[in-house]
Symmetry: C2
């Protein structure tokens, strides 16, 4: 309110000045506007600075995309240096005191605007980012960037070689960097809290621990009931499915979802990801297994979900801190929604199974729709998170989250991680990997980023939210499943764009969820979804 | 000599100071080294600054490579902005007065060192670059970068659409930018001179005009004699040559040349180029025509020639202004040497023709070695520069060079270029294109860079030098053709690395040529080469 006053006062003063200086107006044509301009000029200057920060990030993303797709191995050392340089340039700009002054000067203006206006949101979020950024020293940013590049590079060799020993110093360094990062935001309740806040603003280790404990008690009866039943036969997914056809089919599907190929592309990589260089260039990647159908397609759907979210952000937010998704969990809700809630659903395949069979006639001629549908939704205890089904997936996440907390707290040493991993797998899923390749080396997350911790929980939050968002869309438009049966996704895509995507980062995850679904986060739609879908495929306990 | 004195004096003074301050040494352990360090510290600071400039260039190269290979069209606008930002950051650093002061301070030290030492060369070349760079205003750099990105993007659509009209304003803008550039270096004898100096340090429009006039009088009798004879039959190159096999074969050849694939890769593009991101990541591109064998392979050899040069630069020069080739003409001499002098030679194909026939058995089973060899060396008047043979190629270049001078002088207007192109083709080669696609729109050069002029001459200089360098290597190692017949290129590659590549940009083109061949530039080896090779394929006049 104080700010509203001061703005009014400023305007009043200006009007007064305008009148007073009227006689000079002809000689000094800029004088009248000059007295009124400061806010506009400051806002333009703020946007110019934020655009440069956004562009430096975008350029770094191009380097990372190239690193993970086409870069020859000889390029790694210089690439790490280039990434570190861009991170440093970005960081210098993100903590520039002049940026802070602009934000201070503009905050009263922002507070006078409606909370959800573009400018108010921009200034509010940029200020929050600035206040976090100034706590992180430049040399830390450089060290963290160099460590993550080198670690990623080592991991791409260490995983196939089942060589955890090589990764120990990298991971120790990452954990040290994580603790160092947390300390910039001390005091905290738990060392993971500042790391979690990067991914899910407003959430803490304690909140997630409670959420996961609740979810676990809901999931366990389902998982237990299914594992007591005979295994689903998924032999129909094995055979020879050539790469080009798998990639072509994947592309045809994600295009139907609404992924705009004039503003995107699909490439191969080790560990699939989505990468954004601008609103006009948002790329996805996948990996192909020619002897088993599924992973290439579902990874492409998953990454397309991320990409569709980013492609749907309002163009006005481009090049600002608002021009991206609001949190990792909300982002993941969209990859999960398109991959699982849509892409593994009965209505979806009622449309697409015929064209898949046309694509792979020899492999699928004898396979009924029902057998195929059951195969791609087979629930089983498995070693690899990315291959896990919707029911057991969260068990993989929860054990990683627990291990991260232990590593960060110092209760678990890095060198003991393989053993701890096996014990936890045994406890959680009743199976254990024969080697680290299928154990603690399987995910890029601990080896390709500068900090460890605060990331994995977003997958499960994403699962929970995917059902909550879909439920809200379905309640608004009950024809959605019918449209899917026609291979149409327009109504769903539009609802998501209007209620989620276009907002970018204007709202916190909690605010966005409330606006879009009218509720705070709840596991109810997710549990209902699992009972509904898997109750049809397996005998489940009363719900 | 003065500098040698001052350095000695400095050291002497330091020694004196050391003694004088001995009593304080225990308290100030850094004091002794501090008095002696300045030059080392300054040199390290110079290298740090130059590395950042080099890294910004490298990052921009990644963006450009991606633009020309994989970028979806929606990415163009932001990509242009990203490139302009990096150019601006680079330019700011390249004209930083602190860099000038460092170079001033280090010049006496450099002048005391042997001329060809790494440090002396670094300081000398960096100073020359700096003195050129400070003449170019930052806003010019930003405008030039934005223009070249937008123009390139428009050209990729305008060429297939045969739409010269769209390109007129871009080209006019580029010519205006070229004149503006030249004016930063006024006074000049010819407006093209400052542009030529970028490519070929020390050369001028007048020198090139004279060189070309001499070459023309040598080439014309050969071209005329051949065009009077029946056309060579090259039908054997037509058919269906699938893309994957063409790319595989091209890769197998350039690897044998010595192109290191751990530090490189081959991709497809519209207009082939070579791109360097670091000594460990130097990539080539080619384009594939499935209905005619040749262009994909020869473009790959050509770009590999550039890449082999860059891969051979001494690692000590990496990240400095010395860590690249010395001029466009010398660079082109290496692409021409590997593409033509080696890659279209009889000894080369005596080894490789059998494996090519194995790769394309149906297409080449009936084709004799001699027919194939004649076909790939067919001399004919053609419309497209990049398809031209070794004899007529230079005629394409000379007419472009003339047109550039006329455009820059204002004697030719851009809108009249298509007509002037046709007239010049008619005059020079006796043929004329049916449309601009095969006329003045065919080359990226006028549409993908910020300045027009000063580039094309380097191709013909490259042709001349390719023969001069090869001649010197052959005189030192007369077994080279014999080795080629075994598919071995080690002796030639080593001679080139030792005499050219490893030096990077330490020497001017003229200095390098003298050191490597013992002579100034001469067209004699090139004319001898043409008579030797084509005298065997056609009846030529007395030489």
């Amino acid at each position: 309110m104080a700010s509203m006053q001061s703005l009014k006062k400023l305007n009043k003063t200006n009007v007064g000045k305008e009148k007073a200086s009227k006689s000079r107006a002809a000689k000094l044509p800029l004088a009248t506007s000059k007295t009124r301009q400061p806010l506009e000029v400051k806002l333009a200057e703020l946007k110019r600075r934020l655009l440069e920060i956004s562009d430096l990030d975008a350029v770094n993303s191009v380097l990372n995309w190239d690193h993970a797709t086409y870069m020859p191995k000889g390029g790694a050392a210089a690439r790490a240096r280039h990434g570190a340089m861009l991170s440093r340039l970005r960081h210098e700009r993100s903590i520039d005191p002049a940026l802070g002054k602009l934000l201070d000067a503009l905050t009263p203006y922002a507070e006078d605007l409606p909370y959800d206006s573009d400018d108010a949101s921009l200034i509010r979020v940029a200020r929050r980012d600035f206040e976090k950024a100034i706590k992180i020293p430049a040399d830390y940013v450089a060290r963290a960037s160099a460590n993550s590049s080198a670690s990623y590079d080592a991991w791409t060799r260490a995983r196939p070689a089942n060589d955890f020993a090589t990764m120990v110093p990298y991971l120790e360094n990452s954990i040290e960097l994580s603790r160092e990062y947390a300390d910039f935001f001390a005091p905290y309740e738990h060392v993971a809290d500042p790391l979690i806040d990067v991914a899910e603003e407003g959430m803490t280790a304690a909140m997630i621990t409670e959420l996961f404990s609740q979810l676990k008690s809901d999931l366990q009866p389902i998982a237990r009931a299914i594992s007591d039943q005979p295994a689903t036969d998924d032999e129909c997914l094995r055979g020879t499915f050539n790469e080009v056809d798998q990639l072509d089919f994947s592309l045809s599907v994600v295009k139907r979802f609404g992924y705009d190929m004039d503003r995107g592309r699909l490439d191969k990589t080790h560990h699939p990801f989505c990468s954004k260089f601008s609103l006009g260039d948002i790329r996805i990647t996948t990996r192909v297994n020619e002897s088993k159908f599924g992973s290439a397609l579902f990874a492409a759907m998953h990454e397309a979900g991320h990409a569709i979210y980013e492609q749907g952000i309002a163009p006005e937010l481009e090049g600002t801190p608002l021009g991206t998704g609001t949190s990792w969990g909300v982002h993941e809700s969209q990859s999960r929604l398109w991959e699982n809630v849509v892409g593994r659903s009965r209505p979806f395949w009622e449309h697409f199974y015929l064209s898949l069979r046309d694509r792979f006639p020899d492999q699928l001629r004898e396979v009924s729709f029902e057998s195929f549908y059951r195969a791609i939704n087979k629930v089983q205890r498995s070693l690899i998170r990315t291959d896990a089904d919707e029911v057991t997936y969260n068990l993989h996440i929860m054990m990683r989250f627990d291990l991260e907390l232990e590593l960060l707290e110092g209760r678990l040493r890095v060198k003991d991680l393989p053993e701890a991993w096996r014990a936890r797998m045994e406890d959680s899923l009743g199976i254990s990997p024969a080697d680290d390749r299928d154990g603690c080396l399987q995910d890029v997350h601990w080896y390709g980023v500068s900090t460890v911790g605060g990331g994995f929980q977003s997958y499960t939050i994403g699962n929970i939210l995917s059902a909550q968002f879909y439920d809200a869309a379905f309640k608004a438009h009950p024809t959605i499943p019918h449209e899917m049966r026609q291979g149409e996704f327009g109504t769903l895509h539009r609802w998501l764009r209007n209620n989620l995507y276009q907002n970018g980062r204007k709202f916190t995850p909690a605010e966005l969820l409330l606006r879009a679904t009218g509720k705070a986060m709840t596991t109810r739609p997710y549990i209902d979804y699992l009972y509904g879908k898997y109750g049809e495929l397996y005998r489940l306990p009363q719900h």
